[in-house]
Amino acid sequence: MRLILRRIVGQLGFDVIEAEDGQAALTTLAGAEEVPDLALIDWNMPNMNGLELVTAIRADARLREMTLVMVTTESEQGQIVRALAAGAHEYVIKPFTSGAMVEKLALLGLVPSGATL
């Protein structure tokens, strides 16, 4: 899945940094010179799950401009509500098409409307 996401956002012109899990993501963000524009976050990760990561990023003023998108197989209505309430901007349920991902990023203003791969 990480490979697929890397390919999609890479083709859209993003530079991609990967992290193994939520904890590793926070460590990477803490050391990053530039705050990334976008984080694609799985719900199920060891050490710190996606919901915890969203909450931690939202609690950090330095990272407040980041756009957070959950990309996960977790598809219960209540989970989507929780992720959005925690501060995720969007929620993409697996399986998805690359076109659907591009549309979501367009909704968030990260790629031009009508962009395609």
Partner: protein, 281 residues
């Protein structure tokens, strides 16, 4: 295996007759790809074998299946975005003034496919209209299969990922097994019916807003003219018509005027355009 010229000519003639859709040369692959599941369903080993059977005997079910398979298209929520932005930024404010007395809007999604467009319109209206207003949406399509799907209002996870913001998904849908079902608050304002836009249309009350998007591109000029004339009869004199981004009335039906609508354009019946609004075309 590619389709024989005879089979392609049979299918293009049939689709042309039944749905006024032109399948020009080069669409052989599309026909083959769309008809393969239909052929398999019917127990045929290939599209060629299936079509041979259909040509030998009159089979209304097979004809309907062929038309359905070749007239359905993938669609997404709030498709192209700009028309929906235009609705909230300029068209609905205009209609709110024009319908202040009746406080009621009638909307037609004229080629609604599996229902994403009329439901997107319903969400837009639900969010925009002030208290005390009501609306009614008619969704129509040439394909009976698509109408059944739209009426069911149940969408797969792949479908709800297509352009539907997550906050609207959780607000206007309910999980139903592997699908997401449209909330009853939206469904009760929408009715669906099978319509062939190129044939004489049944008598319907006129509409304030018509979405006729990404369907004229399938028709030849004469059919486009017929469809625009048919649709124009159902558009209120001060109503609004939205076409697909690659479609226009210009050079086809001059009873419409292209006008600015937000960052895109829409069409209004010529006599209704107030002097202050400059035509763009």
């Amino acid at each position: 295996m590619t389709l024989s010229a005879t089979d392609f000519s049979f299918v293009s003639g049939l689709v042309r007759r039944e749905a006024s859709i032109v399948l020009g040369p080069g669409k052989e692959y599309l026909v083959e790809a769309r008809l393969l599941p239909v052929a398999r369903q019917a127990g045929a080993a290939s599209v060629g074998e299936f079509l041979a059977g259909v040509q030998q005997r009159s089979d209304p079910t097979a004809v309907r299946d062929i038309v359905n398979a070749l007239t359905t298209n993938e669609t997404s929520w709030f498709r192209d975005r700009e028309p929906f932005t235009a609705l909230t930024e300029s068209v609905l404010p205009d209609l709110l003034r024009a319908r202040a007395a009746s406080r009621r809007l009638r909307v037609w999604s004229a080629a609604c496919s599996s229902g994403q467009e009329p439901y997107s319109l319903a969400i837009t209206l639900q969010q925009f209209l002030p208290a005390g207003w009501s609306y009614e949406i008619v969704g129509s399509d040439i394909s009976s299969e698509m109408i059944a799907r739209a009426e069911a209002g149940a969408f797969s996870q792949v479908e709800v990922n297509r352009g539907l913001p997550a906050n609207l998904l959780v607000h206007y849908f309910e999980r139903a097994g592997a699908h997401w079902r449209i909330a009853s608050s939206l469904r009760r304002n929408i009715s669906f019916q099978r319509l062939n836009l190129a044939a004489p249309l049944p008598s319907l009350a006129p509409f304030d807003l018509i979405f006729l998007r990404n369907i004229l591109i399938y028709f030849d000029v004469d059919t486009k003219r017929t469809v625009l004339r048919n649709v124009g009869k159902l558009l209120r004199p001060d109503g609004w018509l939205f076409l697909g981004a690659a479609e226009t009335t210009i050079g086809i039906d001059d009873s419409y005027e292209r006008v600015a609508a937000g960052r895109t354009s829409a069409y209004r019946l010529r006599a209704a355009v107030p002097a202050g609004i400059a035509g763009m075309g």
